[in-house]
């Protein structure tokens, strides 16, 4: 290890992955702003009541706002589907293999490392070692899995919420309405989950690990950072002769 130049920068992210990340972030922000503008009753009230009034006024009524929200969502879904089809083997599949938490044992392991990580932010468990992490650490893997799951749910439920009332006669079959109501619950629940996850994501990117934010702009990250935070990944890169 001593013979390795750890101060070097290494290119770890392709340009199209970076563009996709920022496209995803931007469009989700717009979906959030328009989505909270659509919800008008007290049934779902996270933002103050002035927000839907302001947004609906800005777009000339809730009908237009719903349409804008839906068009944005369909652009988001369309671009993602296209990206997945075109980059499945070289980007998407390797990413999924690394990030998805699918077994209880890996979930427990990631939860443990995430908990220690969070407690250390508050000066607790300072001396408890965190198990060596791969390219994505426990918190990133849990967040990634949650975001992927929620995104799929948001896309499917959103499509039904928009197209269901247009193409299905709800009075013909009570199931159509019941599905709508449950999909609304699922849609809103996933929005809440995504927001809570993204708060942590933004905090870590800006405050704790700005190197990661830089990597999401230039695609480069220092080998030192990888060696310190992602030991297993460092070993992998070393084996591949990239560092």
């Amino acid at each position: 290890m001593s013979d390795t130049n750890t101060s070097q920068m290494i290119h770890v992210r392709e340009k199209k992955s970076i563009y996709m990340h920022w496209f995803n972030a931007g469009i989700r922000l717009l979906l959030l702003l328009t989505g909270f503008g659509i919800i008008s009753g007290e049934l779902v009230r996270v933002v103050p009541a002035f927000w839907p009034t302001f947004m609906q006024g800005l777009f000339g009524g809730n009908e237009n706002l719903i349409l804008i929200h839906s068009i944005l969502a369909m652009i988001w879904i369309g671009v993602f589907v296209l990206f997945i089809i075109l980059n499945f083997t070289n980007i998407v599949w390797p990413f999924l293999k690394k990030v998805l938490v699918l077994t209880p044992s890996s979930a427990i392991r990631d939860l443990k490392s995430m908990s220690i990580n969070l407690l250390q932010l508050f000066g607790l468990m300072k001396n408890v070692p965190i198990a060596p992490q791969g390219r994505y650490n426990g918190a990133q893997r849990l967040l990634g899995t949650m975001l992927i799951f929620c995104s799929i749910v948001l896309a499917f439920t959103g499509l039904y919420l928009f197209f269901g009332p247009q193409f299905l006669n709800f009075s013909e079959n009570p199931l159509y309405g019941a599905i709508f109501r449950w999909f609304l619950v699922a849609h809103v629940s996933c929005v809440f989950l995504v927001i809570t996850g993204v708060i942590a994501h933004i905090y870590f990117a800006i405050i704790e690990e700005p190197e990661c934010l830089e990597a999401m702009k230039s695609g480069n990250i220092s080998v030192d950072f990888i060696k310190h935070h992602n030991v297993l990944w460092y070993d992998e890169l070393k084996q591949e002769g990239k560092v």
Partner: protein
């Protein structure tokens, strides 16, 4: 002064001719088997004498309309003049508002695939006309108008007679529909009742506060972490400065 529309129903004058129902159905072209207004007939025996009371009913245009709270898209809304209206362009027909109404005034229209309800004939009253049911009522049992206008017929009648509203201890949401019963007690059959909401609606009532608390909790947690980071950084700097001074 802002208008405040109310409907008065004199149950003594109602003869159950159902002209109001026919007029409403004609005005709004409601599908077969569906109507936005009705006349409820309540019969009972008092001192061996059969008695009947007739209650013309419709949306009560409540001040605290629970249908508006239940509607997720804002399709159900209240106008400044007190009318509770339904925007068909936004309504998805999800029916979350249907069990929310304790007067059973909302239903899913199988033709439009949206929720239908009495609007006090809003397009007619905006043109200065009376609601179709009021115009057609042969016994003048239905009277409609602006209660904030002291010269209006409804204002005068409200002062002249003792009117009651269909409210209970459990359901008191400010209905704007008044009834005159000539002192007869209101029968239980016409009183508003709380209905079982859809399970999905109840779930949403749990999800919403949990979501709000989770988001608030996360914001506070990471705000706290940021402050800790700032304090730690300040301590680091002052320690290194002290060392340099030494």
């Amino acid at each position: 002064m802002t208008k405040k529309y109310v409907m008065l129903a004199d149950t003594v004058r109602c003869i159950n001719c159902k002209a109001c129902v026919v007029a409403c159905r004609a005005e709004w072209e409601t599908p077969m088997g569906y109507t936005r207004d009705w006349v409820k007939e309540v019969e009972w025996v008092q001192n061996d004498q059969p008695k009947v009371m007739l209650f013309p009913g419709r949306c009560q245009h409540c001040d605290d309309a629970p249908c508006i709270e239940a509607c997720p898209s804002g399709a159900a809304y209240k106008r400044a003049d007190g009318l509770v209206l339904q925007d068909n362009c936004i309504c998805s027909g999800c029916e979350l508002c249907v069990p929310a109404c304790p007067y059973e005034a909302r239903w899913l229209n199988p033709v439009t695939n949206t929720i239908s309800k009495c609007t006090f004939c809003q397009p007619r009253i905006d043109k200065g006309l009376e609601p179709a049911c009021v115009q057609t009522c042969v016994g003048r049992a239905l009277i409609f108008g602006d209660m904030n206008d002291q010269e209006s017929e409804v204002s005068k009648l409200l002062k002249e007679k003792e009117w009651v509203r269909l409210t209970t201890d459990e359901v008191n949401i400010g209905p704007n529909h008044y009834y005159y019963t000539a002192g007869e007690a209101l029968p239980d059959e016409v009183m508003p009742k709380l209905h079982d909401r859809h399970l999905s609606g109840k779930t949403m009532e749990i999800v919403n506060p949990i979501g709000a608390i989770a988001i608030g909790g996360m914001l506070l947690t990471f705000l706290g972490a940021g402050v800790m980071k700032l304090i730690g950084r300040r301590n680091e700097v002052s320690t290194s400065e002290n060392q340099e001074e030494k």
